[in-house]
């Protein structure tokens, strides 16, 4: 896959039009995981719009995102920052050849501090 293909694939999986973003930051304003993220929700959208693939792939924030969808819910322009984050996460996993997670691998890495929503989200994302 060329760089361009990867970018287009991220846009396709995200299902969102990054150009609609008016840079208001409401996604950041609502994000419960904001402080742990190196790349903020609005930056994911901006990086997609500007084609900054390397910055997207290098982000650690894709592992901090709770997939709570608050950013999607609050966005006044109908953009889905979480959709972009999920698309990048999928892309990174596939590039590593780790497409999928086995159910028995989960219990050891779960502790009671992990929100249930994250577990549901993890299943949805990895158990394909």
């Amino acid at each position: 896959m060329t760089r361009q293909d990867t970018l287009e694939n991220i846009v396709r999986i995200s299902g969102t039009d990054a150009k609609k973003c008016m840079k208001c930051g409401k996604c950041d304003g609502r994000c419960p995981a904001y402080n742990d993220m190196d790349v903020k929700p609005h930056q994911f959208v901006n990086y997609v719009a500007e084609g900054k693939l390397e910055k997207l792939l290098a982000s650690h924030a894709i592992w901090n995102c709770l997939s709570c969808m608050a950013c999607v819910e609050r966005c006044p322009r109908g953009v889905a920052p979480q959709g972009v984050i999920e698309a990048v996460r999928d892309t990174v996993i596939r590039m590593q050849g780790n497409n999928g997670i086995k159910a028995e691998e989960i219990p050891p890495i779960v502790d009671e501090m992990i929100p249930q929503q994250l577990l549901v989200s993890a299943y949805r994302k990895y158990n394909k």
Partner: protein, 663 residues
Amino acid sequence: MQKIGVFICWCGSNIAATVDVVRVAEEIKREPGVVYSADYQYMCSENGQQLIKNAIKEYGLTGIVIGSCSPRMHEATFRKAAESVGLNPYMVEVANLREQVSWIHKDKEEATEKALILVRTAIAKVRLNAPLKEGESPVVKRALVIGGGIAGIQAALDIAEAGYPVDIVEKNATIGGRMAQLDKTFPTLDCSACILTPKMVDCAQNEKIDILSYSEIEEVKGYVGNFSVKIRKKARYVDETKCTGCKICMTKCPSKKGLDEFNMNLKTRTAIHIPFAQAIPNVAVIDPEQCLKLKTGKCGICQKFCGAGAIDYTMKDSFIERQYGAIVVATGFKPIDLTAFNEYGYADNKDVVTSLELERLMNAAGPTNGVLLRPSDMTHPKVITFIQCVGSRDVSGCGKPYCSKICCMYTAKHAMLIREKYPDTEVHVFYIDVRTPGKNYDEFYRRAVEQYNVDYIKGMVGKVYNENGKLMVQGSDLLNNEQIVIPSDLVVLATAIEPEPSVRKIATLLTASIDTNNFLNESHPKLRPVESPTAGVYLAGVCQGPKDIPETVSQASACAAKVIGLLAKDKLKTNPCVASSNEMMCNGCSQCANVCAYGAITYVDKEFRLGGGKTEIRRVASVNPAVCQGCGACTVTCPSGAMDLSGFSSKQIMSEVEAICKK
């Protein structure tokens, strides 16, 4: 046989870049009946029109076809040119080669083919055109203004100034509208009431102006120059001619728990009340939902105390019908409902207020007498956070897609006034963009930042929650790439504005066109911005689009100029393209009268000779040409084909269809 001339316009490169105009002009020469054909750079220019006039004279043309922009743009221009050299203006047809061809196609070959078809179609029609003569209709020299806010007041004053009588119909008990609720006005910070109430008084004292308060439009008939309007005067249970505005009833009324709409429900009022101290007319009104006498039959205290004997509990809605030459719509706006925005906690926290509520909280005549106190505990808020674009520029479906235009300026105004009056208060403003175009507007906003140290934060708020009595405003600071939480005492939402919802009904009554956001459409967004596409209807204020007071006043005065221009005429030319019924074919079924939106069709009993000295009386349709707008609804409804439209006859339309379908 007609002698037809065809004129193809380049419209600079607008048409010529996509349509081979020379080829069109050449090929069309071969059409039967065409004796002259030419192309020119700008047909609407002085030289272009001269070219048409010369050809009409030289070739004795009996009909002409112009291939140019939309007839909405220049049909009148070309008709006038034809008329000036003796050709009947209704022998002119326009083939729309710009909006319908060059602007929507890319391929030159295809576009040229389509242009040829459209020109041939127009030729097919003009072959069957007949000269038509415009009629005349008188003009009623009286104007109606719907809405008594600053837009309606200004329009009425200007029309009255020119000497024409004008009625203001206001649905509330007083004129004044939204502006009467405001505290100060930007960018000069003068008191809103101080500049508005003198104008209200001027309206009341002007003998040319009749204020019909607490009234609504019920029915509109007629057309430009001759509107007939039925107005409902709602029962106010107080005789306007007797009430002196002494307010004794308000001190005696035992039903005191009504919500005061004028104070944005931040205060209570009595069932019988005068909306505010400077109300015009200064006459009380009874809220029938709240009045004990009207609800239970027991009370009647206000009647006992009223020295003027003005109270009448038996009053009913009454109707008046008046004739007008022109109508100005100035129905104004309201802030949007915030139910869909639970992230700001508006419904759950008394201290989250809209900007219009803040206006009342800062107003000397408001519920706190001008001292800024927060609604929950009536203490002075020390930290105030403003949130802009609440519901504006929102395409998610919760808010409005447009910019409400006034919020940036009034938020800067609020922030500045608070910092001026209470320097110990901390003021934050969350913004997406600060939009302050306008004379002295950006300077005004910069003053808030530079002189008054208002903290402007580029970013949006994600949630507001209550923690130990503090309103925690969590938002993003995009420039610092931080998420911040500001513990605040008062949160002010710069709420989007929308047209007053009753405008939809009024638009329907007036057959005035309206857009998806309930803003009334103007006839042309740039060149006819105060006229509705419906002749004789004019638009002032926010009913046409978001705007501030200076713009509203300008637009209202512009409306008045248009109205005065109309009322100054004694007669108007009427459109000769009207329907008529062939009485020999009409079977009296009434279907045409049922579809006519203008009430132009009536039925008459007419005597017909049957031959042999016998007669018969039949019921047939009759069209009033002064009322008919030529929409054609009756012609397609008529089952017997008796209805036809001059200038757009069924035969003409069918010949156009044939020309389009011909290979």
